[in-house]
């Protein structure tokens, strides 16, 4: 039965969605959502949804409380205990957020390449059998069978309702085998951490990666992440290091591409994985010989293996490099390559639109 409240809940969710969509550019570029991220949901503060009233400014107001402590002593802030100070936070699932992202940026759905979807056998415990291990015994079913039998044979005594199952009554949980086509994807995020990449640039990378991740996660069942940082050398790191490490030194992009190539070969064979490579850098490379080497790796090794290679050139305070131009010149018209220049946070929106707009 459809309850009355469901309609109101649905309407509320619609309104929330509307507000998020309206302010989406702000949410997308400010990065405040990322800190609020749970495993499957994001809580978004939405004071706009509340009904405004004439009321007192809460900060000046204070109130009466109860407990120990002398005058002048600081209290633990109690979230949400003071009426009106509680800011409405709405929980939105990552899928929903991805859907909004898709609608707003008009992103096409990603079509995983045919040969890369391989059917996988999945087990689901939705079956009942008469034999099986005791650990999987279905107590309720067993009881029911037993009761049925006793009633049918007239052994059941309502005054003394003792049910004794015999071997034939026992029922066990069992599995069904289902074939599920499964598409796997891996996002390889690669960032330049040389001295010229400051905190602001990293923040941009962080926000952009969050949205890329959210979108691709909504398109694939299995999504893996690989984080690679590089300066004069490249290494694979955990996400925390990826976003927080700051190093200095020169830049040799080819080292990163070599490492990535290796990682793809050993762990993510292109036969069964859709590989997405995102590289963020300020575009300064050590010398032109290294740039040539990069193009070589890209052409011969990486491009055939990846679905998409995106290069985001983040403008740093030291000005921009020319790696983006180099890439564009080396591969004119190559559909798998997307480049974008991100000068400040506001341009993340457009960069993401470019990166994901191809639907590869």
């Amino acid at each position: 039965m459809l309850r009355k409240i469901d309609r109101d809940v649905k309407r509320f969710r619609q309104i929330v969605r509307g507000v998020i969509k309206k302010e989406f550019r702000k949410y997308l570029t400010q990065g405040e959502l990322i800190g609020k991220q749970g495993k499957h949901i994001v809580s978004i503060p939405l004071p706009q949804v509340e009904i405004p009233r004439f009321r007192f400014g809460q900060k000046e107001m204070g109130g009466v409380g109860q407990g120990e402590g002398e005058a002048g002593e600081a209290l633990e802030p109690q979230p949400g205990t003071e009426p009106g100070e509680h800011i409405l936070e709405v929980e939105v699932s990552l899928e929903e957020l991805a859907a909004i992202l898709g609608e707003e940026l008009e992103l096409p759905r990603v079509l995983p390449r045919g040969r890369r979807t391989i059917p996988v056998e999945k087990l689901k415990y939705s079956n009942i059998r008469r034999v099986g291990p005791e650990s999987l015994r279905h107590f309720k079913r067993t009881f029911r069978e037993s009761l049925k039998r006793q009633v049918a044979t007239g052994q059941y005594d309502p005054k003394n309702p003792v049910i004794v199952p015999i071997r034939e009554d026992r029922r066990y949980r069992s599995w069904h085998v289902r074939e599920v086509p499964e598409s796997n994807a891996v996002i390889i995020l690669c960032m330049d951490v040389s001295g010229s990449m400051g905190d602001q640039q990293k923040e941009i990378v962080r926000i952009a990666s969050f949205w890329i991740d959210t979108w691709l996660r909504s398109q694939y069942k299995n999504l893996d992440n690989v984080y690679v940082i590089h300066e004069a050398f490249a290494k694979e790191v955990d996400p925390h290091t990826f976003y927080h490490l700051r190093e200095s030194g020169g830049t040799k992009i080819s080292t990163a591409y070599e490492l990535i190539n290796q990682v793809v070969d050993t762990r993510f064979s292109p036969e069964s994985w859709n590989v997405y490579l995102f590289h963020f850098s300020d575009g300064e490379n050590g010398d032109s010989r290294d740039t040539e080497r990069c193009m070589e790796i890209l052409r011969d090794d990486l491009l055939p293996k990846v679905n998409l290679f995106c290069f985001g050139q983040v403008r740093s305070s030291y000005g921009g490099g020319r790696f983006k131009t180099d890439v564009e010149e080396a591969f004119p018209g190559e559909p798998k390559i997307v480049t974008a220049e991100i000068r400040d946070k506001d341009e993340i929106y457009d960069a993401i639109k470019r990166f994901l707009g191809k639907g590869l």
Partner: protein, 495 residues
């Protein structure tokens, strides 16, 4: 739906106890609901028949979320109607159900007997259902969006009502029925005292006559102002004077009716909960509890009355005050003699064996609301015993800080938060401000400024109803401010 046999038995038993104690209530209909259904009813403010609106959905989500995280659970839900409807949660243990039922009878008695509920409509369920039908009808004709937007705008002004309106006999209603009559009257003469001619200028000095003339002119001018006097019931004013479509006026009226229906509950929260807690504890501990239930009862009872640091629990404040009143009147700790006694030891052991406690608390539940209740009965000893304090926010860090433990300050602060339900007092002053049909409101400043951001948003909604520029006069940083919204932008003018 019939109650499960066990609960029905307990209900009959507890109802008998309650009546024996002298509680007086309309019939109470109990219903047992599972948590989900209970959350739904609670989201609708107790009326499952209410009109469709998203905020009920929001409320429901919040309730379900906090319930499933184990943060909160609804114990009781009582609706002030005749008969009283009360909802019990299915998953509660039998002893909890008994406690809740005893509590509910306390509320039912309070609803029936407290003065502030004397004007509420006891058939509100039907009214709400009618409202829902009408709102649905309007939605069918004008579309969800339009109706919903309008409801939002009305709700935004929901608190601009006069909580005492039902208790004020309006004199001016009759006068207003004859519009324009005044205008044709000739200017009345200033009444003069009889005098001999030569005494005239001493008995009726010309300066005085002039003054009176000016006053009469002033009064006549005032009469032509709409409203004649600043009006606190802004919603009624808008219903009477705002340029609304019929369906809009209908909805605004509904919102106003519902706001007035819920107002007494907000005005007596502390007292109502205190009274119900007093009775569940009395009935349970003196009559209804079996030995085996004692521990569970104590657990739930203390849970309901727990004060977490930094937070006031109306149940606790209420029950403690009622108990203190009972004790004081039992021992005769009141009156001139007691007040003037300054020997603390004598005061502490004061006992006139009057036994008036029960009688007194019944009287208190009849004629007080939270504001007068606290004002009258909160004493220095009480504040100290409950360790109450006033907190404020550190201007530098923004963190809450204990400001004072002085009981007078505590009481003052508490009374402030209960005056007009802790909301700013706003009057309509002029409907033709600057002679341009603009609406002028005034916030009566009492030391705490308005939340400017919210005020802006609220003005926007007010503009939606008034359709001409709207103003609110308020005070901030000890200076007068006029916040204006003219339909396109917000403006702040210093006064």
């Amino acid at each position: 739906m019939n109650l499960p046999a066990e609960i029905e038995k307990a209900r009959r038993q507890i109802e008998t106890h309650a009546r024996e104690y002298g509680l007086d209530f309309y019939d109470v209909v109990f219903e047992v609901l599972d948590y989900d259904h209970l959350n739904e009813v609670a989201a609708y403010g107790g009326f499952p028949t209410r009109y469709p609106h998203w905020r009920f959905g929001m409320e429901y989500e919040e309730l379900s979320k906090t319930y499933s995280y184990g943060l909160s659970k609804i114990y009781e839900l009582v609706i002030n109607t005749n008969p009283v409807y009360a909802y019990l949660m299915k998953a509660n243990a039998p002893v909890e159900q008994k406690l809740v039922m005893a509590h509910v009878f306390g509320h039912a008695d309070f609803f029936k007997n407290n003065l502030w509920f004397s004007k509420t409509n006891r058939r509100m369920i039907d009214v709400m259902a009618n409202h829902a039908t009408r709102v649905r009808h309007h939605i069918d004709r004008h579309g969800v969006e339009a109706v919903e937007d309008f409801i939002d705008a009305c709700l935004s002004l929901e608190n601009l009502i006069d909580y005492h309106v039902h208790f004020i006999e309006r004199q001016d209603r009759k006068e207003r029925t004859a519009p324009g009559a005044d205008d044709e009257e000739p200017t009345p003469e200033v009444p003069r005292l009889k005098s001999k001619r030569y005494m005239e200028k001493y008995i009726n000095p010309p300066a005085f006559i002039e003054e009176q003339k000016a006053k009469i002119a002033e009064r006549r001018k005032k009469k032509r102002m709409v409203p004649e006097e600043p009006q606190r019931d802004v919603l009624q004013f808008l219903i009477d004077h705002a340029p609304l479509e019929n369906w809009e006026r209908d909805i605004l009226g509904m919102v106003r009716d519902e706001a007035y229906y819920f107002a007494p509950q907000a005005m007596t929260k502390v007292q109502n909960e205190g009274w119900a807690s007093y009775w569940h504890s009395t009935i349970m501990t003196q009559r209804a509890l079996t030995d085996s239930e004692l521990i569970d009862f104590a657990d739930h009872h203390s849970g309901a009355l727990a004060m977490s640091p930094g937070r006031l629990n109306p149940y606790k404040i209420g029950i403690e005050l009622f108990r203190e009143i009972e004790d004081r009147w039992n021992r005769g700790k009141f009156g001139k003699e007691y007040d003037e006694c300054d020997d603390l030891e004598v005061k502490r052991r004061w006992d006139r064996k009057l036994g008036l406690g029960r009688q007194k608390i019944f009287e208190v539940r009849k004629i007080y609301n939270d504001l007068t209740f606290i004002d009258e009965f909160m004493t220095e000893e009480f504040c100290e015993r409950l360790k109450l304090y006033v907190y404020g926010h550190d201007t530098r860090t923004g963190r809450p800080v204990i400001v004072s433990r002085d009981w007078r300050k505590v009481k003052e602060r508490l009374l402030f938060s209960l005056t007009n339900l802790g909301q700013p007092i706003v009057h309509v002053v002029d409907a033709n401000h600057a002679n341009r049909g603009e609406l002028y409101l005034r916030h009566r400043f009492e030391g705490v400024p308005l939340d400017v951001e919210k005020a802006h948003d609220t003005l926007k909604n007010l503009h939606r109803l008034w359709r001409r520029p709207v103003h609110i006069e308020t005070t901030d940083d000890d200076r007068g401010r006029l916040l204006t919204y003219d339909g396109t932008e917000h403006k702040t003018t210093r006064l």
